[in-house]
C-alpha cells in the first residue's frame, strides 16, 4: 500500500504540473492570439481534465494512508508514529491529520476536492474558471511537491517492522479532534478558491463584478468552515486541556483567527464593490492577504518559529513555505502593478456617518485586530532579534489590546445596519438609535445591581469592566437588529395583512443576504456575551478524601469514591462526585484521569454540566505526589453555553444568507410596495 500511495502522489504531482503548465500556456495563447498547433481552448480543456484526474490521484493516496492506518501497517513510519493497534476506529481517521505528513496530505486532498468541484462547474464562465483552475493547480503543485519530496507520508520504517505503533497523542483522542482539523482545513484551504478567482480575474482584466458573485458562495462556505473549525477547536481546548478556558491566545489559535478576520472583512467589503463599484483594489488585497495568512499560519506552527501547546506537527518544512509565500506575494504584487488601472474604483461616498463609512470602519477594525494578533504573535521573534532576549506575549497583552478593539467592532456591528446609505440626518439618528441607546444604558445601570460590577474585592477590575461594556453594547446591538427586523416586518404586515411573525419570515425569504447577515450578527453578539462571562469565572481546588466536600457557588460537591477502569487503549481513574445545590441532590459527575498505555502519557477528561447560566466544570487532576490524595478542581464558568449557541446561530444565519432570496413575480410587486416607503424615507434623509 505504501508503494501505491507514493505512486499515486507522484501521478498527482505530474497531473498538477501538466494542469499548471498547459493551463498557463493555453491562457497565454488565448490572451495574445498567437497561432498554435493545438487550439488553445482544447489545450485548456486538457489542463482542466488533468486537474480532475489529479483529484482522483490524491484521493487514492489519501485512501492508501487511511487503509494503512486501519490495517496497522507499521512498516510505514507515519503510521507507526501516529497510530497503534488498540486505537479506536474514529481516531484512526484522526491519525491521518495528527502529524505533519498526514495533515499535508489532507490539505492537498481538500484542495484537490475544491479544484474538482470548480473544474466540474466551469461552464458558468469557462475563461475565468480556466484561470482559477490554473492558479489552483499551481498551489496544488506546491503541496504535492512537499508530499513527494519534503514530507512523504509513505516513507518506510528503517529496520524490522514494529509489532505496534507509538499511538496517537492522547490530547487528540477526543471526538472534536475527528472534526476540528478537517473543518479548519476546509476553511484554510477553501480560501485558495476566492484567491484563485481574484487573481485570475485580475490577470484577465475581468469585466464587471461577476467574479465576486461567483466567488461569494465559495467564500461564505469557506468562512463557515473556518468559523466552525475555530469553535470546535475552542470546545476541544475547553473539554480536554482542563484549565477551564477555551481561548488562550496561543499562536496556533491566533494563526487560525487572522485569516478569519481578513476573510470577514472581505465578505463585508465585497458588498461595496458589488453594489457601488468601490474598494476594488482593497478587496483584491484582502483576499490575497487572507490566502497569505493561511500560509503564514501554517508556517508559524509547522516551522517551530513560535512555541505552542497546539503544535502537534512541527518539522523543517518552513523554508518551503517561506519560498512559496515569496512566490505568491511576488505574483500578486506583479499582477497588481500590471493591472492596477483595471481596478479603478468609483468613490461615491458623502459622509463619515453613513452605511458606506460603516463598511470602511468595519474593515478597518477587523484589519487592525488582525494586525494586533499578528504583531503579538511575531513580537517575541522581533524582540529576540533586536534585544537578544525572548519575551512572552500572552493573554494579558491581548486582553488589554485586542478586547477594546473587539468591543469597538461589536459597536459597529450594531451601528452599521442602522445608518442609511449616502448620509444621515439628526432626525434619522434619533429615530434609529433611541431604542439601542436605552438598551445600552439600561444594562449599564442594571448590570451592577445584578452582579455585573466593574470592580472586584473593592478594587477596579478591568475584565469585569470590559464584560459590563460588552453586555451593554451587545444589548444595544441586539435591540438594533431586532428593531430592523420589526421595522421591515411591520411594513410587510401592513401591506399584506399578515401577522408580524409571518412578515418576518417573508422579509427574510425576500432578502436572505441581508437578514441572514443580521442573524449572523445576533450569533456574534451571543458569542461575545458568552466570552464576557469569563470575567466572572470562579474556581476551587481541593484534595478530596471520601465524603470530603468542595463548595463552589451554589453547588456542593461530595466525593463518594474513586474507581478505576481499563481497556486496551488506556487505564482510567474516576472521581465520583455527588452534586448538591442548596442541600438538594442534583446529579453525579465523574471527572476522569486517563493513562494511555502505549505512550504512557496522562490525560484529563473533564466533567461538564452545562446550563444556560453557567457550566459546572470539574477536573480530576490526579493525586498529589506528596500526600497521595486525589486533587479535584471545580470551576463555575458563567455563560459558556452562549458561545456554542451563538455558533449555532451563526451557522444558521450563514446558511440563510446562502439560500437565494425569493424573487418570483408574485412577490416582486409586493417587494416594490414594501421597499417604497424605505427608499422614499432615504430620499428624505431618513432611514
Amino acid at each position: 500500500m505504501a508503494a501505491f500511495g507514493s505512486f499515486a502522489l507522484l501521478i498527482g504531482l505530474a497531473l498538477a504540473a501538466y494542469n499548471l503548465a498547459a493551463g498557463a500556456l493555453a491562457l497565454r495563447l488565448i490572451a495574445t492570439g498567437q497561432p498554435a498547433r493545438i487550439a488553445p481552448e482544447r489545450l485548456a480543456d486538457t489542463a482542466r481534465r488533468a486537474g480532475i484526474a489529479s483529484f482522483w490521484a490524491v484521493t487514492a493516496a489519501a485512501f492508501a494512508l487511511v487503509y494503512s492506518v486501519f490495517t496497522n501497517d507499521f512498516s510505514i513510519t507515519y503510521i507507526m508514529e501516529h497510530s497503534n493497534r488498540a486505537l479506536p476506529a474514529p481516531y484512526k481517521f484522526a491519525a491521518m491529520w495528527s502529524g505533519q505528513e498526514g495533515s499535508l496530505l489532507l490539505w492537498a486532498w481538500l484542495l484537490a476536492g475544491y479544484g474538482f468541484v470548480l473544474r466540474l462547474t466551469h461552464k458558468s464562465d469557462v475563461k475565468l474558471y480556466a484561470y482559477a483552475g490554473t492558479i489552483l493547480a499551481g498551489i496544488q503543485f506546491f503541496f504535492l511537491l512537499l508530499l513527494n519530496f519534503a514530507a512523504p507520508p509513505f516513507s518506510l520504517f528503517s529496520g524490522p517492522t514494529p509489532a505496534d505503533g507509538n499511538g496517537l497523542n492522547p490530547l487528540l483522542q477526543y471526538p472534536e479532534m475527528v472534526l476540528h482539523p478537517p473543518m479548519l482545513y476546509l476553511g484554510y484551504v477553501g480560501f485558495s478558491v476566492p484567491f484563485a478567482f481574484a487573481l485570475g480575474a485580475l490577470m484577465m482584466r475581468y469585466p464587471g463584478e461577476k467574479w465576486i458573485k461567483i466567488t461569494r458562495g465559495w467564500t461564505m462556505i469557506t468562512w463557515l468552515f473556518l468559523t466552525c473549525g475555530i469553535f470546535l477547536g475552542m470546545h476541544w481546548a475547553y473539554a480536554v486541556l482542563g484549565w477551564g478556558g477555551y481561548w488562550g491566545w496561543d499562536p496556533v489559535e491566533n494563526a487560525s483567527f487572522m485569516p478569519w478576520l481578513t476573510g470577514t472583512a472581505f465578505l463585508h467589503s465585497v458588498m461595496m464593490q458589488e453594489k457601488k463599484g468601490m474598494m476594488k483594489s482593497w478587496n483584491v488585497w484582502l483576499i490575497f492577504s487572507t490566502f497569505l495568512l493561511t500560509l503564514l499560519g501554517t508556517l508559524l506552527t509547522r516551522a517551530g518559529l513560535v512555541s505552542s501547546v497546539h503544535a502537534f506537527a512541527q518539522s523543517s518544512i518552513g523554508t518551503w513555505f517561506v519560498v512559496f509565500m515569496g512566490i505568491v506575494l511576488a505574483v500578486c504584487v506583479f499582477t497588481y502593478i500590471l493591472q492596477r488601472d483595471h481596478l479603478k474604483s468609483d468613490h461615491q461616498i458623502e459622509s463619515v456617518v453613513s452605511r458606506e463609512s460603516s463598511f470602511l470602519f468595519n474593515n478597518l477594525v477587523l484589519l487592525t485586530a488582525c494586525f494586533v494578533i499578528l504583531w503579538g504573535t511575531l513580537f517575541p521573534i522581533l524582540s529576540e532579534y533586536v534585544q537578544g532576549t525572548k519575551v512572552t506575549v500572552g493573554a494579558p497583552f491581548y486582553n488589554r489590546v485586542a478586547v477594546p478593539i473587539g468591543l469597538f467592532l461589536l459597536f459597529l456591528t450594531g451601528v452599521g445596519p442602522l445608518l442609511p446609505w449616502r448620509s444621515t440626518s439628526m432626525k434619522a439618528v434619533k429615530r434609529n438609535f433611541v431604542l439601542p441607546c436605552i438598551a445600552l444604558w439600561a444594562v449599564v445601570i442594571a448590570g451592577p445591581i445584578v452582579g455585573v460590577r466593574p470592580w472586584h474585592d473593592g478594587a477596579f477590575d478591568r475584565g469585569n469592566f470590559y464584560a459590563l461594556i460588552a453586555f451593554a453594547v451587545g444589548a444595544a446591538v441586539l435591540t438594533a437588529i431586532f428593531s430592523e427586523f420589526l421595522r421591515g416586518a411591520r411594513v410587510i404586515s401592513r401591506q399584506t395583512g399578515r401577522n408580524l411573525l409571518s412578515g418576518t419570515w417573508q422579509l427574510t425569504r425576500r432578502n436572505t443576504r441581508r437578514y441572514g447577515g443580521y442573524i449572523v450578527h445576533i450569533g456574534v453578539v451571543l458569542v461575545v456575551m458568552g466570552l464576557s462571562g469569563q470575567a466572572f469565572n470562579r474556581s476551587q481546588e481541593a484534595e478530596l478524601g471520601l465524603h470530603t466536600k468542595l463548595n463552589i457557588g451554589p453547588y456542593t460537591l461530595d466525593c463518594i469514591g474513586f474507581t478505576q477502569d481499563s481497556n486496551a487503549n488506556y487505564n482510567s481513574e474516576y472521581a465520583m462526585l455527588n452534586v448538591y445545590r442548596n442541600g438538594k441532590y442534583q446529579f453525579q459527575m465523574t471527572p476522569e484521569k486517563r493513562l494511555y498505555l502505549v505512550s504512557g502519557q496522562p490525560q484529563t477528561m473533564v466533567a461538564i454540566h452545562s446550563l444556560p447560566s453557567w457550566d459546572l466544570y470539574v477536573v480530576y487532576e490526579g493525586t498529589n505526589p506528596d500526600t497521595g490524595r486525589p486533587i479535584v478542581k471545580a470551576f463555575l464558568n458563567p455563560l459558556v453555553g452562549w458561545i456554542w449557541f451563538g455558533l449555532a446561530v451563526i451557522v444558521f444565519g450563514t446558511l440563510v444568507a446562502l439560500v437565494p432570496g425569493v424573487s418570483s413575480a408574485s412577490t416582486a410587486a409586493l417587494k416594490a410596495q414594501a421597499e417604497r416607503p424605505v427608499a422614499e424615507a432615504v430620499l428624505k434623509g431618513g432611514d
Binding site: Q348, T392, D457, T512
Partner: protein, 171 residues
C-alpha cells in the same frame, strides 16, 4: 441660572464619563487575595506548559507550586506588584512575564497596536472626506420624493436607492 447650550451638556457628560473611567482604571487591586489572583494571571508557569501560573492544571506541578509560594511570600512581604514582577523576571527570565514590560524596546509592543488603530481611524476619516470632495462623490439631494413628479434622473436615483436598500446588506 443660565441654561447650558445643548452641545456643552454633551461635552460635559462626555468629560464626566471619561473622568469616571480614568479613575476606575487608576484603581489597583487592594486585597491580598485580589492581588494574588491578579498577579498569578500575569505570570507564566515555568514548567513548559505555556499556561499562566494561575491556570496551570498539572497535578503536582512543582513549578506552579514554587511560583505560587514565591508570589504569596512577595505579597505578604509588602512588595509592590512591580517589585514582585521584577523579582520573577530576574529569577526566571523575561519569558516568565505573560506580557512584555512597558519599557524600552518592549514598549513598542503596547504602543504599535494603538498607534496603528489611531492612524487607521484618522486615515479612514480623511479618505472619506477626500472621496466626498471628488467630482461625482457628493450627490445632490432630491427635495421631492413623490414618484409622480420626479424627473427621470431622480427616478433613476430612487431606483438606485431601492436597489441598495432592498438587496444590499448582510453578506
Amino acid at each position: 441660572m443660565r441654561a447650558l447650550p445643548r452641545a456643552s451638556i454633551w461635552i460635559r457628560t462626555a468629560e464626566a464619563v471619561v473622568l469616571a473611567v480614568a479613575v476606575c482604571f487608576s484603581l489597583g487591586a487592594t486585597s491580598a487575595a485580589s492581588r494574588f489572583d491578579n498577579l498569578s494571571r500575569q505570570l507564566m508557569c515555568t514548567c513548559g506548559c505555556a499556561q499562566l501560573v494561575g491556570e496551570c492544571d498539572h497535578a503536582g506541578c512543582t513549578s506552579r507550586a514554587q511560583e505560587m509560594t514565591e508570589l504569596t511570600a512577595g505579597i505578604a512581604g509588602g512588595k509592590t506588584d512591580q517589585q514582585i514582577m521584577s523579582a520573577f523576571a530576574a529569577k526566571y527570565g523575561a519569558t516568565v512575564l505573560a506580557a512584555p514590560p512597558a519599557r524600552g524596546f518592549d514598549l513598542l509592543a503596547w504602543v504599535a497596536p494603538f498607534a496603528v488603530f489611531g492612524a487607521a481611524i484618522v486615515g479612514t476619516i480623511l479618505l472619506i472626506r477626500h472621496w466626498g470632495n471628488l467630482p461625482g462623490g457628493r450627490m445632490e439631494p432630491i427635495a421631492e420624493s413623490n414618484p409622480a413628479t420626479m424627473t427621470p434622473e431622480e427616478r433613476a436615483r430612487l431606483e438606485q436607492i431601492r436597489r441598495e436598500t432592498g438587496t444590499d446588506g448582510g453578506f
